[in-house]
């Protein structure tokens, strides 16, 4: 079975809401059925075929091709499987995510993982503002640069970065530590072809917060030097 692939037709004049294009929503549907689905649950919603060329059969692995920064809500409420984005994507990537993996090989806009509860989001490029906002749990990794207000109202969960961002006052520095669970986490990244595969060093700078909420979330600044 080949991965179910959505190839964006062109840069749209409007943002495209991709929340229906998740493994759990599209399981057991044929390409024709998927093409005929409405993008949104509204009267005048465009069909999926209006925005994407659809191919492939394995809805458990969805690939987005020729993507751009106006594709919003990719992986919204997804519960299992994998979504691979071969370029950039829009806002709310993996918002309300409940499980599975999202791999973005480009950049993502704002609100990555908003209210995410479980699962993994890896972004090879940059991410916008409010990354991990209202995050309940799960793991987000951003290899590139990050916008402002990261971890805003974050309750639990882990955000992995490679650069120190500007942090909210309610996210506190807990010092530099060698965390044993990172071995398991890094090992699990090896299934995906991302720059995160190069991470080997278990020594990280740990920030915890958001103290305005539960304060059990963490932002870990990984060291990209290979030596452990």
């Amino acid at each position: 079975m080949t991965a179910l692939t959505f190839t964006s037709k062109s840069n749209s004049a409007h943002n495209v809401d991709c929340r229906r294009l998740t493994p759990n929503n599209l399981a057991n549907l044929t390409v024709a059925q998927i093409e005929n689905l409405s993008l949104l649950n509204t009267k005048n919603s465009p069909k999926i075929a209006d925005c994407f060329d659809v191919s492939g059969t394995d809805a458990n692995h969805i690939i987005f091709k020729k993507t751009h920064h106006q594709l919003d809500y990719i992986g919204h409420k997804m519960t299992s499987g994998q979504i691979t984005i071969e370029g950039d994507c829009g806002d709310f990537l993996g918002a309300n995510m409940r499980g599975g993996n999202i791999i973005c090989h480009g950049n993502a806009n704002d609100r990555v993982g908003d209210q995410m509860r479980r699962g993994l989001i890896l972004i090879a490029g940059d991410a916008g503002d409010y990354c991990g906002s209202r995050m309940i749990a799960g793991t987000i990794g951003i290899y590139g640069n990050i916008g402002s207000n990261i971890g805003f109202a974050m309750k639990r969960g882990t955000i992995l970065l490679t650069k120190v961002p500007s942090l909210l006052a309610t996210i506190q520095d807990c010092g530099t530590h060698t965390l044993p669970f990172l071995t398991l986490l890094f090992k699990s990244f090896s299934a995906f072809n991302t720059p995160f595969n190069a991470l080997k060093n278990l020594r990280v700078q740990r920030y915890a917060g958001d103290l305005a909420c539960n304060g059990n979330g963490e932002i870990l600044i990984c060291n990209t030097n290979v030596s452990a």
Binding site: R118, T158, P180, F181, T183, L184, S188, E218
Partner: protein, 302 residues
């Protein structure tokens, strides 16, 4: 049956159904993994008094463990699932949580899952966090040396306990040397443990006692100093008997372990002082698993 001048009795070891689990313990180095594993499997020789029978299965190299650190694989057996769960939790809390740098992981797959760190997490007093990695849930509990990492659950499987054989020799040193030789060989067999001190037990028991409160007492028929007093199983030249008890995940694992152990003793030959190999049973009425020595050693006889 006689193998290399050592007589193998036409008898059988009688074994029981148990519940078993495996836990992988890792640490900064093998020294601390052994500290944790030895504590975890301490006071776990017999279900009669200890609740569980536990032991070290083998040493694990760093590339065999989930977190890439040196480790130890331990097996733990109990007569029922409830006791096994209780003992595992208690021992995890007192022996692994407390041991510097130690972490614990599930060592066996099964549909029956029992708590490893599931309830231990509350030690974190609200600062504990979980990570779901590749479908497995782990708990990170902040402790004074850093973070204690444990998998949430491990598998519980049906297992067998009480495989055994007796080494009958002309002297105590001879019996012990033979037992040690057998244990060294048996340690190479996977899926089994020999839970007694050093793998060897010198106080084999029989069911019942003259004292009403005792449900087990010394196996007088195999006590060399009682040869003239009781209906002894020992001939004049036997002066010491050692027993090796084996718990394992399957019948074949225990049978393999017994064969390897007995063969190692037989390889020592007549000069070792070992005269006979026998086995402990209760007439075949109590335990459903019978390990017949002649069948186990069948292919090795000469």
């Amino acid at each position: 049956m006689i193998i290399n001048s050592i007589k193998i009795d036409d008898t059988f070891a009688e074994a029981f159904n148990m519940r078993g689990t495996r836990v992988l313990i890792t640490a900064q180095n093998h020294k601390w993994a052994y500290h944790a594993a030895n504590a975890m499997t301490g006071f776990a020789t017999s279900v009669i008094g200890c609740g569980v029978e536990a032991g070290i299965e083998r040493e694990l190299s760093a590339d065999e463990t989930p977190d890439g650190r040196p480790g130890i694989s331990i097996l733990m057996f109990a007569m029922g699932s409830k006791v096994l769960m209780q003992q595992l939790e208690t021992r995890m809390g007192q022996c692994i949580l407390t041991c510097p740098t130690a972490a614990a992981f599930a060592g066996i797959e099964s549909d029956d899952q029992i708590s490893l760190g599931k309830n231990l997490r509350y030690f974190g007093d609200g600062y504990q966090t979980s990570k779901l990695i590749n479908g497995k849930r782990y708990w990170r509990i902040p402790v004074m040396d850093g973070e204690f990492l444990t998998e949430e659950t491990t598998g519980m499987v049906r297992a067998i306990g009480g495989g055994n054989f007796l080494i009958l020799a002309t002297s105590q040193p001879a019996a012990l040397h033979a037992a040690e030789t057998a244990i060294e060989a048996m340690k190479q067999v996977p899926n089994v443990i020999m839970p007694f001190p050093g793998g060897v037990v010198r106080s084999g028991s029989k069911v019942g006692s003259k004292y009403p409160k005792m449900f087990a007492s010394t196996n007088d028929a195999f006590c060399p100093t009682l040869k003239g007093l009781v209906n002894s199983e020992l001939s004049d030249n036997i002066e010491s008997v050692m027993e090796i008890v084996i718990d394992g995940l399957t019948f074949d694992d225990i049978a393999t372990s017994m064969r390897v152990g007995i063969q190692a003793i037989c390889d020592l030959g007549e000069s070792s002082g070992v005269k006979r190999i026998s086995a402990g049973n209760y007439g075949g009425k109590l335990g459903p698993h019978h390990f017949k020595l002649h069948e186990i050693m069948g292919s090795a006889s000469s």
